[in-house]
Each structure stands twice: as C-alpha cells, then as structure tokens.
Symmetry: C2
Subunit: 150 residues, 2 copies
C-alpha cells in the first residue's frame, strides 16, 4: 500500500497523521502476518519507543484499523484489519515464532457457528468472539516481510 493510502486510512478514522503512526502502519502493511510490538520496533528504520508503539496500536485498535490478540507466550500481536478477510484464525510456529493467518472454508465457519450457538445456548451466554488456533513447528526461522526473499 502506498504511503498516501496509509495516510488516508488515518484520516478516514479521524486520527491525526503522525510519523509513528505512519511508520507502524507501513510496517504492518509490509508484513505477511501479525507482528508483536517488539517486531514492529525491530522493523522500524527510525527509532520508536515501545510505549509509543503500544499507544499507536491502541489508537489504531480503537479505530478498528488493526486487530490485536495474544501469542502463546502472551505477547501482544497486531495485524491490519483489512489484510485479513472475515475471520481471523492463526497458526503459530514454535520454532520460528512466526504467526500465519489461516482461513477456514465457509462450510467449516458455519459448523463452528453452530457449535458456538449450541454451547452458548446451553450456558446461557452471549458470545462476542471466538478463536481457533493451531500450534506447530516448521523448519524455517525468523520473521519475514513481503520484501524479504522468502
């Protein structure tokens, strides 16, 4: 995505255009998967304090520009909302610490919805979200950006 488009993303949500925000957005946009706050700082060419990244992410989350969730080791992970269609399920690699987005086919999503309905009905609960995560190991290491040679 061009810088102009990232700027527009912020403007549309009424967020002021600042360098840390554009920075974080550009990094997330370049990534082929969710990134931790630490990842974001590492990928940044300019120096950004962790606290700023946390605040930027919080603002982007409020604006629903990003989505966040936790890694198995309880760190905050961030990804652009627009980069993931519909639901967000994840595949974690224990060895390279990478996180992949995975999509379930429509049939599977529907089955899951049914299960959720059954379970929530029987427990008398109003469900607002769900997650499905897969944990495994691969042979590759490190994190990859789209610009990297995969």
């Amino acid at each position: 995505m061009a810088k102009k488009q990232l700027t527009e993303l912020l403007r549309q949500e009424g967020l002021s255009i600042t360098s840390p925000r554009l920075n974080v957005l550009a990094i997330l946009d370049q990534s082929d998967g969710p990134l931790s706050v630490e990842n974001i700082v590492e990928h940044s060419t300019t120096q950004i304090p962790l606290s700023t990244v946390y605040r930027v992410v919080a603002d982007l989350l409020d604006a629903k520009i990003v989505r966040t969730f936790s890694s198995p080791d309880k760190k905050l992970l961030v990804e652009l909302t627009r980069s993931t269609s519909g639901h967000h399920h994840h595949l974690y690699c224990q060895s390279c610490e990478k996180v992949f987005d995975i999509d379930l086919d429509t049939k599977m999503e529907r089955l899951i919805e049914n299960v959720i309905k059954d379970v929530s009905d029987s427990h008398g609960m109003r469900v607002y979200d769900h997650s499905f995560e897969i944990y495994g190991t691969c042979d590759r290491g490190g994190h990859h950006l789209k610009s990297d040679q995969d």
Copy 2:
C-alpha cells in the same frame, strides 16, 4: 476425590507428598473449571505464597497431572488433566470471569482434525496442539466451587 487419591496421584508420578501440593490438588479437584493461580490462593484455607503455587503448578504440569493455558487477560489457568476428557476447549465469561470446559462432539473434532491437517500440510508444519475458545458474557458473577451452592 479423597485426599488419599490425591496423594496417590503424586506418588504415581514420583512427586513427594507435601502440604502445598495436596492443597493445590484438592482445590483444583473441588473446582468445576480451570482456576488462575490467584484463584487457587484465594480458595486455600492455609496461607500459600503465589511463588509456591507457581512452582507446584509447574511440577504438576511436568507430571501431566494438570494442564495449563492462558485466559484472555493473559493469566495462567490450571485444571486437573483427569477432569477433562480428551480435548480441552474453553468458554470464557467476560462478566463473571469464569472459564467453562466445553466438549465438542466426535464429528466436530474430526472436522477440526481435517482442517488442521490441511492447514499444516500447506504450511509444512508439524502440529502439536490446537485450541478453540469462545468468549462471551453471562449474568452470573464470581467463581464457583462444586461445594458452593450454584
């Protein structure tokens, strides 16, 4: 479960019989769902430091007597392995902070296994676990032990 049986659980795994361990086991055994370390301390009649509970839980985890996972707010949750048949999926209540174990029927489990196979194959990964969690809210509050009046 009788104290004698809890003792036996430890003995079978080669763990020495200590009062904190029996305590934690008894509390987990009485609970109708996973408990946080803080919960365990609260439910204990005798005084147990958090650090001791963490160490006890770590030992019980090594011995596979308990299973652990994280709550949405990233706290460590613990439950007796034997109290949950087969797989472990969870229903989190945002309002009362309670966690329920849920079971999926065999057909659903099989579908999930298929999805996991597809996904792991396409990513070249060896899968060692997965989780399926539902987040919602109910009307009740607080944590319940089996001995409480539900």
